[in-house]
Amino acid sequence: MSPVIETLDVSKHYGEGDTLVKALDRVSLSIESGEFTAIVGPSGSGKSTLLQLMGGLDNPTLGQVHLANKDITQMSGRELSDFRRDHIGFIFQAYNLIPVLTAAENCEYIMLLQGVAETERRKRVYAMLNRVGLAGREGRFPNQLSGGQQQRVAVARAMVSRPNIILADEPTANLDSQTGSDLLDMMHDLNRNEGMTFVFSTHDPMIMERASRLIRLKDGCIDSESERGES
């Protein structure tokens, strides 16, 4: 299988001289299509930084990030925006829905940027919200939904634009264990049934249990990697 995303000797440094902090140091990894991967490690190990670099939200100090066979570190701001729009879905710890848009509109927004026709947008939004268990709540604003429901909308938003990969940064951190578990089951189903590639940064044991691959980070470097069979 060809890698969906690949990092080559990626480093991220903050500060300089005595205050230099190496958040990531020469990290190379490759994510294959259909993986359900968890990047784990203690706080400050560089999990979120790695995810941000993989998603083109930040530029590495050194190294390259290849996504869909393109080096995204060389892209301009505009190219990177378009690339994120078309190839990457994000799920954030704090949901980060647009508060003035309804659940359906939040999902529709990216497709609007992609130029998908209105009827197609509507069809896909309603199907996806139904898929994540939010049928009937399409017209609700984020503040009218529970945390779990908001994160489901975030998952739907990330998936509805049909990206190559979904990057989820601590998606269950703000949810109670039952809601978190339900949400993970849903994402796992999407991974198994629809072949969607997921990469998580987490220290949630529930995610680690379900992950097909675990990448452990320590002090900005890959400490260990383990692969599991179908869980």
Partner: protein
């Protein structure tokens, strides 16, 4: 549509702030519009009066007469010319004039005077000359029973020469053929008061002036009145296009009264500074509000950018929000300005002391209802809003998603 919805919902998020911003911009619109209405109304009154009274809207003369008027630069006033001009759309009235100087004599004294030969009826229809007669009667074309040509004299002429209505006036000058011109006239009426622009005038029928200055069938100016002084240049172009004699020149009032026009324009531009100060102060307030709103939503812009919103789209979102505020403000401002400007136009502000210019009394400051008075402030507010949106828009567009999302 989604961007419009997003922009509209964003500006409705903090309603109190939106209301205050809209009111601030609407207040700016109102001040600019009312000030423009009153200024334009006042200038309109003055310019309309001035052009009707003095220059007309357009003048036909011999080339060079407007710049250096002399007795000899006269042209033949033919029926063909009059008919050609009368057929031009927009020409409402025409009056020929002869203008030169002479020495006036009363019983015991002499006084230099400006002689004007006018066609009494067309002149009365075109200018305010007939309204300025403060004693006696307006001019007639025919001599009186004793064969005297009747004239109107300025108040200063009357005072200096100790003349009253019915008295005799002797004029001495030079004819266009170089001969000595002199004749005896009967005072028919006095014009205005000493100090008025007409204080040194002696006004006589055109035929009498042509005879006096030896200008048979000729005039110095053909003064033309159109519908409005504002379209004088267009009317002048139309007249110039059909003028049969290439030796003749057509000048709008702005050329005829060049200094007056330049003074009025400079005065008007000076008044605009006040308007720009008002707009500047409003802009500072609005810029602060828009910047605050962008700062508060930095994290959200980070998310929008992270999920694929381009910098240009983010910039246009800010511009759209600011323009929406400006459009709402303009509508509110328009609703407030309409009745106020209407009141100024219909009622006006009474002057503490009515102003009299050449016998015409100005008693009120009047406003003006025109597309300019309502449209210009709208344009200013919208352009200002666009400029205001630039800085916050660029700021939002340049946000680094990962840094911005840390503020959430």
């Amino acid at each position: 549509m989604m961007m419009l919805k997003l922009a509209l919902r964003n500006i409705l998020r903090n309603r109190r702030r939106t209301v205050l911003t809209v009111l601030s911009m609407a207040g700016g619109y109102l001040l600019v519009s009312v000030q423009l209405s009153v200024t334009e109304g006042s200038y309109d009154q003055v310019l309309d009066f001035y052009t009707r009274d003095t220059t007309g809207h357009v003048q036909v003369t011999v080339e060079g007469y407007v710049e250096t008027p002399t007795l000899y630069k006269a042209f033949g006033l033919t029926d063909t010319l009059l008919h050609t001009l009368a057929d031009i759309p927009g020409v409402e009235a025409m009056a020929p004039r002869i203008e030169s100087s002479a020495l006036g004599y009363g019983e015991t004294r002499s006084f230099p005077v400006n002689v004007r030969g006018v066609d009494p009826e067309p002149e009365a229809a075109l200018s305010y000359l007939a309204d300025k007669v403060s004693a006696g009667h307006y001019l007639g074309s025919e001599p009186d029973a004793q064969g005297y040509v009747r004239v109107l004299i300025g108040a200063q002429v009357a005072r200096q020469l100790s003349l009253g209505v019915g008295d005799e006036l002797i004029l001495v000058s030079q004819g266009a053929d170089g001969s000595l011109a002199n004749d005896l006239y009967r005072v028919q009426g006095i014009l205005g008061q000493p100090g008025d622009a007409e204080e040194r005038w002696v006004v006589m029928p055109l035929a009498a002036a042509q005879a006096f200055f030896v200008l048979p069938g000729e005039v110095h100016r053909l003064v033309i009145l159109g519908a409005d002084y504002r379209v004088a240049q267009r009317l002048a172009s139309r007249i110039a296009a059909v003028l049969p004699d290439p030796a003749l020149s057509v000048s709008p009032w702005q050329t005829v009264a060049k200094e007056f026009h330049e003074t009025m324009t400079a005065d008007k531009e000076g008044g605009m500074i006040t308007l720009y100060v008002i707009v500047f102060l409003v802009c500072i307030g609005v810029l602060n509000t828009v910047l605050m709103s962008v700062l508060e939503r930095t994290g959200e812009f980070g998310v929008l950018k992270a999920i694929g919103t381009s910098p240009a789209r983010l910039f246009s979102l800010i511009v759209l929000e600011t323009l929406m505020l400006a459009i709402i403000a303009c509508l509110v401002g328009l609703l407030l300005a309409l009745p106020i400007n209407l009141w100024f136009t219909v009622q006006g502000i009474a002057l503490a002391e009515p102003m009299e210019i050449s016998g015409i009394v100005f008693s009120h400051y009047r406003g003006q209802m025109s597309a300019y008075v309502f449209g210009f402030p709208m344009l200013v507010i919208l352009v200002s809003a666009l400029l205001i949106a630039l800085m916050p828009g660029i700021r939002a567009a340049r946000i680094v998603p990962v840094d911005a999302m840390r503020t959430l």
